[in-house]
């Protein structure tokens, strides 16, 4: 049972303000991921929650209690560091037992709890080894072991997978998701990897420049990005953004995109007026082969087997455009390519980068 609330958290380092009035309400047993570009303040926010860093202003509330001034151990949190922060001179057993030793727990009790954690994490046969003798994934599990052994109410993870190679990262992602289900605990997870965010999170916090851009489920972010920033950040390859001019606002939004093609898009056009400059966002995976008015000159083609990614430009040749096509699509580098997109798949962002709400959005799958 643990809810975690942040009330108007701000943080400055010297004169540099890196967090601006962050408000968040994280529910019990939720898996929340903080995501955002490097330097946006993810780690800082997590460290404030942990109590490693003091907020310049604002409150951290866990289970209704204001813990802003409490020692980490009194907050009932535990933390897994990016580097795992395993003690190289201690065995796996001692690493996991460390928090209990600090508490001066009696030996039998301690042993039993370490063994239990080791079982959950399938580390039972590694207990005598030193961290240096473990693989990356095993080390990560030891780090988790050290954090679960104390039965914290909230788990914090700071980019725990960023040191692993791609294959292992995939496996660990799966394991972490399973662990979350087994432990039934509240987890806060920092990453700058959108795949991790999308695959693991119940809800995602997108941070940018110390502010929350959007807080929602992965599918909300994917289908209803609140800002251009979120739209560009979520989804791989990135969403294409094509400058366009508003022609009309009746029955949706009629625009003319760079290159001359006109489309009427089913979005809330109430705030727009003709002549406005907007940007139309199209995900690479939403386009299809076929003459739908988008004509691309292909610069580079990447064939990944199942899909082929083409990179090229649209319109006057200045706007980049990327399309994800079937693996065997008959495309050649240097040749023009004709594509189509369904208007209901398009996103529109106004000049300030805020989205115009899509009125014909796809149903959300939980």
């Amino acid at each position: 049972m643990a809810t975690l609330d942040l009330h108007r958290i701000s943080k400055s380092f010297g004169t540099a303000k890196v967090l601006h009035d962050i408000d968040l309400a994280i529910k019990d047993k939720e898996f929340v991921v903080f995501v955002g570009p490097s330097g946006c303040g993810k780690s800082t926010l997590l460290r404030i929650i942990a109590g490693l860093e003091e907020a310049s202003s604002g409150k951290v509330v866990i289970d209704g209690a204001d813990v802003s001034d409490a020692h980490p151990v009194d907050r009932g949190i535990s933390m897994v560091f990016q580097s795992y922060a395993l003690y190289p001179h201690l065995t796996v057993f001692e690493n996991i037992a460390f928090p209990l030793r600090v508490q001066k727990l009696a030996e039998p009790d301690l042993k039993q709890r370490v063994m239990r954690a080791a079982e959950i994490l399938q580390l039972t046969d590694k207990l005598k080894l030193k961290p240096g003798q473990l693989s990356g994934g095993q080390r990560q599990r030891v780090a988790i072991g050290r954090s679960i052994v104390r039965n914290p109410k909230v788990f914090l993870f700071d980019e725990p997978l960023s040191n692993l190679d791609a294959a292992l990262r995939g496996d660990m992602r799966v394991e972490l998701s399973q662990l979350h289900r087994e432990l039934d605990a509240t987890m806060v997870y920092v990453t700058h990897d959108q795949v991790e965010a999308m695959t693991m999170a119940d809800r995602i916090v997108v941070l940018n420049g110390g502010r929350v851009e959007q807080f929602g489920t992965p599918m909300e972010l994917y289908h209803h990005p609140a800002t251009k920033f979120v739209a560009g950040f979520i989804g791989q390859p990135n969403m294409n953004l094509i400058p366009a001019t508003v022609l009309g606002t009746d029955g949706g939004l009629t625009v003319e995109i760079d290159g001359g093609h006109r489309m009427t898009l089913p979005v809330d056009s109430s705030a727009a007026s003709a002549g406005d400059k907007v940007e139309v966002g199209i995900r690479p995976e939403d386009v299809d082969l076929g003459d739908g008015g988008l004509s691309i000159s292909v610069r580079v083609l990447e064939r990944l087997g199942g899909v082929s990614i083409t990179y090229g430009t649209i319109g006057n040749g200045e706007t980049r455009f990327c399309a994800s096509l079937p693996g065997d699509a008959a495309v050649r580098e240097g040749e023009p390519l004709h594509l189509s997109v369904a208007p209901s798949d398009c996103h529109v962002f106004d000049a300030s980068g805020r989205v115009l709400r899509r009125t014909a959005a796809p149903a959300l799958v939980a």
Binding site: F13, G14, R47, L52
Partner: protein
Amino acid sequence: MIRQCCRWLAVALWGLFLTETAQAASPIRPTETVRRKVLPEAWFAWLLLTPAMVFIAVIIAWPLVETIRLSFTDADLGGESYVGVANYVDLMESRRFRQTVTTTFYWMFLSVGLKLILGLIGACLLNAAVPGRAVFRMLVMPPWVIPIAIGVIGWLWMYNGYFGLLSGMGQRIGLFDGPYAFLAGRTSAFYSAVVTDVWVGTPMITLFFLAAMQGVNRDLYEAAWVDGAGRWYRFRRITIPQIMPVIVSMALLSAIWTFNSFDIIFILTQGGPRGATTTLIIDTYKVAIGNFKFGEGAARAVVIVVLLATFSALYLFLLNKVNKTYGVK
């Protein structure tokens, strides 16, 4: 790192005022120095520092202050009375003292220069990938790890004109036509002391240079080699610039140590003949401890500290300037 340390030396000299500028001059990585405060750190830090600080205060700071005070007195075995700057005036007027200062700087520059050059050559040789280098590296250590005084006694014996190895070998190969007493002539005594000082100081410098050379990324050499650069070219264009920070800081540290080097000269020549090898430190010792003229000795000690501080500051200043000119970070 070492350069930073040297900068602190300068900072210490010119006080807090310079601290600001020095910090401004060295961009601090945010994660290192301006670090968050987890605990009330300051008290804990001072708790940890107190033992060392107290120690230094009693054994070094207080004596330093006392030295400065004494330098304005005529303290000797009998007692002391305030004499103002008389001691300093005497020093300024003494031709012999000016001679000593000149000797000291000549001694320092010559000896440090030789140590750096030899150290560089030695490090290169020991860094060469030839069989046996592990053993060779071991064999440079002895002069460094034994008490200086003991090594110097060995040299003292070797310098003996009648019975020493150098004179003997020199005669054998026809270099001298009779016994050559190294420590008897003004010039030869001075250079003999320099050679011994170089002998004592070179191993450590060699090992520091060697360590620095091993720290140079091998890829750089391979890249240069692929581009056709020969050994000498790689040494000049890669090794030297890469280990420059270490060279620069060793030069300063070694200069300070050499300036203050006592055992070698004291055992070899006691500063003679006729003051040819009397450096400031020897002079100070002889006056203060030998002749019990504490006041005059203290004045000399203060002059040493001032000269060294000025030298270090000047060195760092010039270094900074050169670095700026050449845009070295």
